[in-house]
């Protein structure tokens, strides 16, 4: 008898359990197939939708793959010069203290050119949320080595792998900002499995709740894949990320006040 239930019956009689959130626009994402940016965008917008703060949220988009985030997020957005998103967010939050302000940055933006802005915004304890997508590479410009590139990891500017003697060690921004007194919640998450997506979403929710309570800066790193830059299929890149990125960038809460 069960076999007679068709998809139409389930849609008609059943409940809708998952639908794309209304806080995302209908535009097709410009990201490569399987890129973690899409999931990060979605869970961020789901949190904003669930908290009912769509009209009170201002996002700051960076330079990098997510430079077009304002095209996909159905909220007020501001573009920032390369790496300066935390400085721009600081200004917005100080002018509009009752709005929710977040920045959405990649590792080339936040950990390379924007290191100073990031560290000082964290040190001042600006009441904003920073979402940091770490894929260990400059994705948009063609897979060059970023400060977060792993030792011996190949990129277009390190074809024989990153030589730490010459190029230094990968920078752990999340651990660095956790030592600063201005941050209240510092965590590292991922979006490659359903469980990881749920944990990341909870972390983002917590960050926005912290902002509501004026607790200080919340910093969320999301370790993501860059299958185009890494020259792998999406499934293989997620596996590679688990095997190589996670030992160096361990997941979990680093600071939670």
């Amino acid at each position: 008898m069960e076999n007679t239930i068709t998809a139409q019956d389930i849609i008609r009689d059943g409940e809708l359990v998952f639908k794309k959130t209304a806080c995302l626009t209908d535009n097709v994402l410009s990201y490569c197939p399987g890129c973690g940016h899409g999931v990060a965008h979605r869970i961020l917008m789901e949190v904003i939708d669930e908290m009912g703060i769509q009209s009170q949220t201002i996002g700051v988009s960076p330079v990098g793959c997510s430079v077009l985030a304002y095209d996909f997020m159905n909220i007020d957005m501001q573009g920032a010069a390369h790496g300066r998103a935390p400085a721009v967010a600081t200004g917005i939050k100080r002018v509009f203290p009752n709005k929710f302000v977040f920045t959405y940055q990649g590792d080339g933006d936040l950990a390379a050119i924007g290191t100073a802005e990031t560290i000082h915004a964290c040190n001042r304890g600006e009441n904003i949320v920073i979402i940091f997508i770490n894929n260990g590479i400059y994705g948009m410009t063609g897979g060059q080595m970023a400060p977060t590139t792993l030792p011996n990891m190949k990129s277009s500017t390190t074809p024989y792998g990153r030589d730490v003697k010459m190029m230094g060690h990968p920078i752990k921004m999340t651990e660095i900002v956790a030592t600063l007194p201005g941050t209240c919640f510092v965590t590292r998450q991922a979006v490659h499995t359903p469980a990881a997506v749920n944990r990341s979403k909870k972390a983002i929710r917590k960050a926005f709740e912290n902002q509501k309570l004026n607790k200080g800066l919340s910093f969320i790193e999301i370790v993501s894949n860059c299958n185009s830059g890494w020259k792998m299929t999406p499934v293989k890149s997620n596996k590679w990320m688990e095997e190589n990125m996670f030992p160096y960038y361990p997941l979990g809460d680093i600071k939670d006040l």
Binding site: G14, R42, P234
Partner: protein, 80 residues
């Protein structure tokens, strides 16, 4: 025993065929089609619709949010 039944709707035109939903599905319901969509991607579809439980795993990992999930609980549970 009646089990929970689910079904997914895939926005074929926006699917980029990244295969993450195929890996995430615990019931191996989803496969990539041999056909391609307007952009040339092999889109995801339900190969074994009867096995779908509406667990939402595929929709959670879909980067392009193209999957909508419906779920039907068994009659015995549904009635008040």
């Amino acid at each position: 025993m009646a089990k929970i039944k689910g079904t997914i709707l895939v926005d074929i035109d926006k699917c980029k065929g990244c295969e993450l939903c195929v890996v995430a599905c615990p019931s191996n319901v989803i496969k990539l089609a041999s056909d391609v969509n307007g952009k040339g991607y092999h889109f995801a579809y339900m190969e074994i619709p009867d096995a779908c439980t509406g667990c939402v795993n595929c929709a959670l990992v879909c980067p392009d949010s193209v999957i909508t999930v419906h779920r039907l609980r068994p009659k015995s549970v549904q009635t008040v």
